[in-house]
Amino acid sequence: MDGYNCVFNPLFRSKENRLTMGLPNASGDLSTEVEVDAFRRLFPLRFYEKHLLESIRPDARPLGRARETTIALGAVASANGSALAKIGSTTMLAAIKMEVMTPSLETPDEGCIAIDFHMPPICSPIVRPGRPAEAAPVVAKQLSDTILSSGMINLKELSLVSGKAAWMAYLDIYCLDADGALFDTALLSAVAAFSHLEIPVVSLNDDGKIVLSEEQGLSDREPVNKERRKINLSSIPFSLTCVLHKNYILADPTAEEESIMDTIVTVVLDSSSQLVSLHKPGGTVLAYTSAIQDCIALTRQRVKELQKILEEAISGMEVD
């Protein structure tokens, strides 16, 4: 079991983190630790404000720092492209399945992308079977707006036979563990899944249907998409969510921070630092433009980090 190479290994790292991190002011004495924990539960906002005065957060992060982030590509073999992204303990699994459709009359040489975001009951104590989480449709809409409007994917690349057949890319993102910054993690996993996506070689059979070339053994038949196995990703979007409280800006909030301080700002920038979307859905804090600018500056830094993490994940795959 020790030598077993599991693609889901990044899933398991965080529990140790949680155990070793502890509270910055825990002195090892059990009685004070209990008091700290009780204080945290009874007066969560005051607990946080005491930390913020010291410019630190209960998990020992400075205010502007995001949690540890990992990406594992190719987690699901039954999909054409997949990725597992983890920010802190928030975990998302994204997978793409390619199917064939007849393109619409208005856009005969374009494919299509269908994006869905799921929060199954395993991810959080709040979600119960049959009662979907409120956050899920919000994140789903935000994701599909961001991915489709960022121009990351040229839908013309998904065309197979003009007017007859094109790819429909079903992108499904599952939240496996919800601990804040759901949109950031979901977008990261989606982007990673697209960069892992490998399009199967297909050809047109006698009935006018698209079939896999290798499986049918139709070596005489010319594949319709020989050169197009990978999708070109131009200007990849990355995001950072911040929580605003008084004059403080906390980057990459945990679920606890999101529930205590309810004003969030999500900024999406593409790889050349252009603004794709900015989302501040109300909240009790009315932000000055300077705060928004600070959020954008934090996001710009974060995009560089995320770009590097994604590049490392991709080059790691090529070595294998």
């Binding site: 079991m1 529990k15 390619m98 199917e99 395993i122 599909s144 489709l148």
Partner: protein, 256 residues
């Protein structure tokens, strides 16, 4: 073109036309090889790990070949308001599939049959009287379906329950056997399950040698049943040991 569920056009998978042909069994066909090259009575290597989901009270991840599942346990927590008073605790189980779990894209809906089977397989092993008036929720998500899904979910769920500190008489290990012609193959993969003549699933508490669930489908003869049950019991014993090792490792890691 922006995709919206509902207005989306009809699509099909390019590999739909391809159907695998079942092997033709004669009287002596022991030279037939399983798709993954295993022996007929050999299980896939099992990988278990607890603590996959931090927001749950307990959780476990299991991987056998390409079958991958996650189980989270929540509770014991307050039962639904509509529930009657109860001296013993309640167990609530749910099994669902991701849309990309199966070779052909599915709907990702709940699997009602598996949910109730999971409930019945675990019920006998849990000391329900230790959490009166409350409910323990066991939720499973099949990330990738590679055959023998239900047995993997059951084994994984019992590990997740142990991780959550729910009192049990023993871990529950589950194994299934497929009957293909005259052959019995243990721990079948998806392809084997698709052309099986019959199947048997046995879930048991290995150290107590007690069976919590036994299901048969299809055509079986008495000697075959005896052989299959013995195979399953042996495999459950071995699987139980692997699961126990996983728990011990997790416990020693958290002590450090």
């Amino acid at each position: 073109m922006a995709a919206k569920p509902g207005s989306a056009p009809v699509t099909y998978s390019p590999n739909l036309g391809q159907k695998t042909r079942p092997p033709i069994f004669k009287d002596n066909d022991l030279d037939w090889v399983r798709p993954d090259g295993r022996g007929f009575h050999q299980c896939r290597p099992a990988f278990f790990r607890t603590g996959a989901v931090n927001s749950a009270s307990g959780s476990a991840y299991a991987e056998l070949g390409s079958t991958k599942v996650i189980v989270s346990v929540f509770g014991p927590r307050e039962s639904k308001k509509a529930m009657m008073y109860s001296d013993t605790g309640r167990l609530n189980c749910n099994v669902s599939y991701t849309t990309f779990a199966t070779p052909v894209r599915g709907q990702g809906s709940d699997h009602k049959e598996f949910s109730s089977m999971l409930h019945k397989a675990l019920e006998g092993a849990i000391m329900l009287e230790t959490f009166p008036k409350t409910t323990v929720d066991v939720f499973a998500l099949v990330l990738e379906s590679g055959g023998s899904d239900l047995p993997v979910v059951i084994s994984c769920a019992s590990l997740a329950l142990a991780d959550a500190g729910i009192m049990m008489y023993d871990l529950v290990a589950a194994v299934s056997v497929s009957c293909l012609g005259k052959n019995l193959v243990i721990d079948p993969v998806l392809e084997e399950e698709s052309y099986q003549d019959g199947s048997l699933m046995l879930t048991c508490m290995p150290s107590r040698y007690e069976v919590t669930q036994l299901t048969f489908t299809g055509e079986w003869s008495t000697p075959e049943i005896n052989e299959a049950m013995q195979l399953c019991l042996d495999a459950c014993n071995k699987l139980g040991k692997v699961m126990r090792t996983c728990l011990k490792e997790a416990a020693s890691a958290s002590q450090e």
